[in-house]
């Protein structure tokens, strides 16, 4: 048996019961869902009728509970379920939520709070002020440990194939921390300059803002921060890692996959050599990416991120075989040859001069080795490579550039923005045209014979298949045709050394990318266009992860992708009331200006624009994982790889101390809570008055003015059948009178009015407390408030019937209204018990079998209830009830002992 009693809920009732049982010698497990014990009471200002400071009463109970030798406290923990075993004991499954902070390491210094870039409403201050995604619940928290609020991984971050923490750098850019944003990116992927120009940005497609006024320019933010960083750091801030491990890795191919693998391996201390057959490094980035998209200087700077780590790139070097590499002393090999050749088109005339493949064309065009002046250039195909080829043809001086595509524009694989940009620049698009043959004279192309097509049934690619239209043949003149109908993987590297698929590509393990040769890994299926480089980066990163494990001799299988579940758009939208703001868009240079120039055509966002844009981020997952806390934590306590932990405990008895819920004042729309800034709840007023008050003064929210005429509306959500809340909440009269007294102390000139139905000052010293408030000058008006309206200056018009004063229906003006919200049942108590023998009463409180003589005993043997979980009570009554309930538990436990 692990514990004698499980107590669910660490509020004042749970603590009192735990202490009573602990003092009797029973072993208690106290499970609290919040990061601190103390419940609601610790958040109060002073408590009636003695006006003791709530902290002064709660903190010793909290500390004693936490340090009691017989009490184990688990905070940030949920009960997943409690089941009864055959021997009468219970098995409770406790889920310790992942707070991403190791509580044993955290020293509660709150340094992390200061660095956090995500603001959230401070729920421990009832949303009066902001807190941070990483925070210590409140100053007196027990345990005083930071926790990270997270609803899941943000969709943008979650969706990135390369694991780039988009939300993280967006939130850093929002905070003006551009260099930090860049460094975060470098933690995840090494080619931010290229990505910021080329990436198709799947993150943006997942942006929750897209469901409101429009997605955030996440790529634009990356572009800004990268430019900013590269401007200030022409060379990387780091050099070769000091602690090299002596192992050597060969990477074949210097495209994005190879570069990425080399980068991560080099960071881990490996000596990496990249073998590149071309003259210069970069693969697709160098040879197939037009400079108007990716300026060469940005590419060079991106490459520097890798070479600064000591990665050697041997260009113009062919690798004969893997065996040769091993013979050279490499401990592992990563093969990332990239896209090697273009698909051919098998029609008459394909061997004519002037018929070129796009890779050859692009490479020559980028190197400015082609002059197309006066020539008519035809491009066959509809992908990015086709469009880029067409645009480069323009830049090489072509008289006319025409794209022929066998489907219609909307089926084109190229991105629509690129297609439009090409058209703007002067490229002509001819949809539903397929080449039949290339016509030539003297071995050189003069024309293309085309056939019209129409769209038929979907084919294997799920796009409509083009079908030739009989008799539609035409011929168009052209001196050059670029056949860009697809790319093929290199299938001829290292013949015979490794297993291959039928298409010639290497067989690799899907998870690890390992080939059939031990220690040799390969990027499979690396066919890309430049907008897809994040896929290659992902492969390089994955290979580096598994190669590192292999080289360290780790034999346990491990998964590269350990993403936590993502938050859904619906969850985010239900959490936030969204204010829409006009999005900023990246624009391009004027088409006429750009069409014949190799200058970069996309214009970066200004700093103001990028701040405004990132300011629209909804912080979907809450924590952005910007890692600022990780960087600053002096105790190294923050770990984003922390996962929830499930523990099963066996207990002899269970005590429910799950507390109450506050009535949601929005359910009384006529009172205007949530619409009128100066209508607050009593819980907010208690915070305004507490020793740890958020503003260090009582201010009204709309304009920060010290209120001078405050009203309390009693029975908000109590004794009210219109909101299905018939019961009296017992505490609201008294806490309102308490607040009124404290207000008169804090604001000596203020008038305080309490609108009431009956003043229920029934406890010991309560009526005297009520009389004292009257004596201090608090106005008590018998009459229910009908509605509250707002004036233009934020004051409030309270319509009510003045019964005691005899004024009848009347309207009074106040500058701050406090809704004395009631307390209702917390249905949580029932969801945790698997067998439903614990009954609820008509109001969803836990039913006691005999309220008169058996306080705390529920309808299920061995299950007890303490405090407000069994019905609303004030603090003194709760403490007494919790002690009584603990005694019931003790009597039950002892009966079990005696019977054994």
């Amino acid at each position: 048996m692990d514990y004698d009693a499980l107590i669910v809920g660490g509020g004042i009732a749970g603590m009192q019961s735990a202490l009573t049982l602990g003092d009797m010698g029973y072993r208690v497990l106290l499970v609290e869902k919040e990061p601190s014990i103390g419940g609601r009471m610790i958040l109060l200002s002073k408590v009636f009728p003695t006006l003791d400071c709530a902290s002064c009463i709660s903190t010793p109970k909290m500390a004693t509970t936490a340090h009691h030798p017989n009490i184990t406290v688990m905070t940030s923990a949920d009960i997943d379920g409690i089941e009864r075993d055959t021997d009468g004991s219970f098995i409770a499954r406790v889920r310790k939520k992942s707070t991403f902070v190791d509580p044993t390491a955290c020293i509660g210094c709150a340094e992390c709070e200061r660095e956090c870039t995500v603001a959230i409403a401070d729920r421990f201050n009832f949303d009066l002020i902001a807190s941070r995604a990483i925070h210590i619940a409140f100053p007196q928290a027990v345990p005083k440990k930071a926790v990270i609020a997270s609803d899941g991984i943000s969709p943008c971050t979650y969706t990135c194939p390369g694991g780039v923490e988009a939300h993280g750098y967006v939130s850093l850019v929002r905070a003006g921390l551009y260099e930090e944003a860049f460094r975060l990116h470098m933690k995840d992927a090494p080619l931010p300059g290229s990505l910021s120009r080329l990436c198709y940005a799947p993150c943006e497609k997942q942006c929750t803002r897209a469901l409101a006024e429009g997605k955030i320019e996440i790529r634009g933010a990356k572009r800004f921060m990268t430019d900013y960083y590269y401007d200030r750091h022409p060379v990387p801030e780091y050099g070769v890692p000091a602690d090299r491990n002596g192992k050597r890795v060969a990477v074949v191919g210097s495209g994005p996959a190879g570069l990425t693998a080399a980068y991560f391996l080099a960071r881990n201390g490996y000596a990496v050599t990249i073998f590149e057959s071309a003259r210069e490094a970069g693969g697709v980035l160098r040879d197939a990416t037009p400079p108007y998209r990716l300026p060469r200087a940005v590419l060079e700077r991106d490459l520097h991120n890798i070479t600064a780590l000591g990665v050697e790139i041997r260009t113009r070097t062919d690798v004969a075989s893997v065996a040769d590499l091993k013979a050279q002393g490499f401990d592992a090999v990563f093969i990332a040859p990239g896209t090697m050749k273009a698909k051919e088109i098998d029609i008459p005339g394909k061997d004519l001069g002037g018929v070129v493949d796009p890779l050859t064309f692009l490479k020559s065009a980028i190197d400015s080795k082609i002059d197309l002046a006066g020539k008519r250039v035809a491009v066959v195909g509809g992908g990015s490579v086709a469009v880029d080829s067409a645009r480069m043809a323009l830049r090489c001086g072509a008289r006319e550039v025409d794209i022929y595509y066998r489907r219609s524009r909307k089926e084109m694989p190229a991105h629509e923005t690129d297609v439009q940009a090409a058209l703007d620049e002067g490229v002509k698009l001819h949809e539903l045209r397929a080449p039949m043959r290339f016509v030539g004279e003297g071995g050189r192309l003069t024309a293309i014979a085309l056939q019209e097509t129409k769209l038929g049934a979907p084919d294997a690619s799920k796009r409509a298949a083009p079908e030739p239209v009989a008799g539609s043949e035409t011929e168009v003149a052209a001196e050059v045709v670029i056949v860009a109908v697809g790319l093929l993987p290199g299938a001829d590297l290292f013949p015979g050394e490794m297993e291959r698929r039928r298409d010639g590509t290497l067989v690799t393990n899907k998870e690890t990318l390992a080939t059939s040769l031990v220690g040799v890994y390969a990027a499979r299926n690396a066919i890309i266009d430049p907008t897809m480089i994040i896929q290659s980066i992902a492969l390089g990163k994955r290979a580096a992860f598994h190669m590192d494990r292999y080289l360290r001799g780790e034999s346990e299988p491990a998964s590269f992708d350990l993403r936590l579940p993502r938050v859904t758009h619906e969850e985010v939208l239900s959490r936030n009331a969204i204010t829409t703001r006009a999005p900023e868009k990246m624009r391009m240079l004027d088409p006429l200006e750009r069409a014949r120039s190799n200058a970069e055509i996309e214009v970066a966002l200004s700093e103001d624009a990028v701040r405004a844009e990132t300011g629209r981020c909804l912080d979907c997952g809450i924590c952005s994982q910007c890692h600022q806390c990780v960087e600053t934590c002096p105790a190294d306590a923050i770990h984003f790889d922390m996962r929830p932990e499930l523990v099963s405990v066996r207990v002899r008895s269970t005590l429910l101390a799950t507390g109450f819920q506050l009535f949601d004042a929005r359910r009384k729309p006529l009172y205007g809570y949530g619409r009128h800034a100066n209508v607050v709840t009593a819980m907010q007023m208690d915070r305004l008055l507490a020793p740890t008050r958020p503003y260090n003064a009582v201010l009204r929210p709309s304009d920060g003015k010290a209120p001078s005429n405050i009203a309390f509306v009693l029975c908000t959500g109590s004794r009210d059948c219109t909101v299905d809340s018939r019961l009296c909440s017992r505490v609201c009269c008294m806490y309102s009178i308490k607040q009124a007294q404290l207000l008169m102390g804090a604001l000596p000139l203020a008038e305080v009015t309490i609108y009431f139905m009956d003043i229920r000052a029934f406890g010991k010293g309560y009526d005297e407390f009520f009389e004292q408030a009257k004596g201090m000058g608090v106005y008590f008006v018998k009459g229910r408030v009908a509605k509250i309206e707002e004036t233009t200056d934020g004051d409030l018009l309270v319509s009510h019937e003045d019964i005691s004063g005899g004024a009848g229906k009347t309207v009074a003006q106040h500058d701050l209204v406090v809704l004395s919200v009631g307390l209702t049942a917390n249905p949580k108590a029932f969801s945790i018990l698997k067998d439903a023998n614990v009954e609820a009463d008509a109001f969803n409180f836990v039913r006691e079998v005999d309220e008169d003589l058996e306080p705390g005993r529920t309808t299920m043997e061995g299950v007890f209830v303490a405090g407000t979980a069994a019905g609303i009570r004030d603090i003194p009554d709760t403490i007494v009830h919790a002690s009584a309930a603990a005694l019931q538990v003790a009597a039950y436990l002892r009966t079990g002992e005696v019977n054994q």
């Binding site: 009463i57 909290m62 008050r693 019961l727 003043i759 029934f762 406890g763 003589l853 306080p855 003790a890």
Partner: protein
């Protein structure tokens, strides 16, 4: 001064202290005081994290003593003693200085002077701490038995609970029968069960326990000893029984308020109190008859004997609900009845709201009167005439001819001076037993080991009385089940060398047997029985030969404190 290293920690108490006392100034002054090795401030010294930090400081600076300038020792002395202990320090090397109640709260309009006072108090605290020495707690072996005074539902339920946990229980009841007040009451709210049924159930359960002994016609006449080991004498009939118990629960209940003659017509025929009306309800079938007349109209006057500016100022808590509950029963007996309720605030709190709701649905009419303008009740013809100014109908004066007026009377404390003399329990304003703190220690009294339960503490309904009695039982159990109790060793100590046995100390000692005469080295001297001494210091003050010292407050310590407090005045 000794060479002790003292740590001085000053607490902001949120703003409770720092809003009115310059905490940094206090801290700086402490730092400049001889003996102070470390001075720091804390937002909440009592919070867990602050305690951890202080413990760390005690260990790393190898402090010999600690002074915390914060709130009243009544609140946190024990908290910080435990903290000191956890840090490896003898808990009595800790000194608490109260700069909240004594400075920030007392002088909130004069921050400079409040701060100056705080500085001096802290200096005095350092002076005391510098002369402190480690002391060991006095361990008292406890007795596994409890005396429960009063056999109403609270006392009986507490007895059963204690018996459940294996403790022996002696129940002393002044009346000839157990059951207390509810025996005579009819149906009780909210369950509707008759009081006698509840009594019978409890009585039968007690009869089945061999570790509960009930004495009726009995009362407590003598008590000595201290928490954990009391010796008590109970007079039951002619017999006096000596018992040894570890704890005492006083569950002596309440008395119904008895109206003064002519108070709301009391004394007129057909003007009855609520308990009398309850009896009427238990005996009536089909219609209510009073003085041979059928009752057609009832007027209830609320707050009789409660919430009075003269007399009982407190609210009696149970009566509003009890009255509407009674009205429902009356309606069930005779649905044709007209019932008028003249109330001030309908205090049907919590679920009791449903009872109030039901009474309204069953035709009871409610009229609200102002406490300054109470209704009047007069005889008119054969019947009664009640006049009231009703706020709910716009202040109309309303006359209600009634056949029966029920005075909704509250609860008052039972009067039992003899018991009070024996228990020496302090009373609250209404004459009920007073708890130490309504939230921290709601069933404990200033007399260690003596607990209070039920309506003896304040007006309560049945469920509330039972809950509090079980809370008292829980406290007793937690205290006694361990088998021993550690008491603070701050007791008087006699120097046999100096004592001349003049007997002055015995004369002033309020605790019987705490000072005894013994022979030491051939001479008669006084000696202190540590288990019985409460450390009040009265003996030390009167001893003409200064032979008595109070541990923790030695003459040297107190002199040093005075010197530190008054340094500027003297020099």
């Amino acid at each position: 001064m000794s060479a002790q290293k003292i740590g001085v920690f000053t607490c902001h108490c949120g703003g409770n202290i720092s809003d009115y006392v310059d905490v940094q100034k206090v801290c700086d002054a402490a730092a400049g005081t001889e003996g102070c090795a470390l001075a720091k401030t804390f937002l909440f010294a009592c919070s867990d994290s602050s305690q951890e930090e202080m413990m760390e400081a005690i260990r790393t600076h190898q402090l010999d003593g600690v002074v915390i300038a914060s709130c009243s020792p009544k609140l946190h002395l024990e908290t910080f003693r435990v903290m000191a202990h956890r840090a490896g320090l003898n808990p009595h090397m800790y000194t608490q200085v109260n700069i909240r109640e004594q400075c920030s709260w007392a002088h909130r309009h004069d921050m400079p002077k409040a701060s100056e006072k705080a500085v001096r108090l802290v200096r005095a605290g350092i002076a005391r701490a510098s002369l402190s020495r480690p002391l060991e707690n006095i361990r008292v072996e406890t007795l596994p038995a409890v005396l429960v005074i009063g056999a109403g539902p609270a006392g009986m339920r507490a007895a059963l609970a204690l018996s459940d946990l294996g403790l022996t229980v002696y129940v002393v009841e002044r009346a000839a029968e157990v059951g207390g007040r509810i025996r005579a009451l009819g149906k009780l709210f909210p369950s509707g069960r008759p009081g006698r049924e509840i009594v019978a159930r409890l009585r039968d359960q007690i009869a089945g326990r061999d570790n509960i002994v009930v004495y009726t016609n009995a009362e407590l006449v003598e008590k000595s000893g201290s928490a954990g080991r009391f010796a008590v004498k109970v007079r039951a009939g002619q017999e006096t029984i000596s018992l040894k118990v570890g704890a005492i629960i006083a569950a002596t209940g309440f008395a119904p308020y008895a109206p003064q003659p002519e108070e709301f017509g009391f004394g007129l025929p057909a003007v009855v109190t609520l308990p009398e009306f309850n009896e009427l309800l238990t005996t009536s079938r089909e219609c209510l008859r009073v003085n041979g007349r059928d009752v057609r109209t009832i007027a209830y006057v609320y707050c009789v004997g409660s919430r009075q500016s003269e007399g009982n100022q407190y609210c009696s808590r149970y009566c509003c609900t009890a009255a509407v509950h009674a009205a429902i029963q009356a309606h069930e007996i005779d649905p044709e009845l007209n019932q008028f309720h003249l109330y001030r605030d309908m205090r049907a709190y919590g679920r009791n709201e449903l009872i109030y709701e039901e009474a309204r649905q069953k035709g009871s009419l409610f009229l609200r009167y102002d406490g300054g303008e109470p209704p009047t009740v007069e005889r008119e013809g054969d019947g009664l005439l009640v006049r009231v100014r009703d706020e709910l109908s716009g202040g109309d004066s309303i006359e209600i001819p009634a056949d029966l007026v029920v005075l909704v009377t509250g609860m008052v404390a039972t009067s039992n001076q003899r018991l009070l003399d024996v228990l020496k329990l302090p009373l609250s304003a209404g004459g009920f037993f007073n708890e130490i703190h309504p939230k921290l220690r709601p069933v404990e009294t200033v007399i260690d080991g003596v607990f209070i339960a039920g309506a003896a503490q304040a007006p309560k309904n049945l469920a509330e009385s039972v809950a509090s009695s079980m809370a008292a039982a829980a406290n007793c159990s937690a205290m006694l089940l361990k088998g021993h109790l550690d008491r603070a060793p701050l007791v008087a100590k006699v120097s046999a060398e100096t004592c001349v046995w003049c007997g002055e100390c015995v004369k002033v000692c309020p605790y019987a047997g705490a000072i005894v005469e013994v022979e030491r080295d051939g001479k008669q001297v006084a000696d202190v029985v540590p288990e019985l001494c409460k450390g009040c210091g009265a003996c030390a003050a009167v001893c003409p030969s200064a032979a008595i010292e109070l541990e923790g407050y030695t003459n040297a310590q107190v002199t040093a404190m005075i010197d530190a407090l008054a340094a500027e005045v003297v020099s």
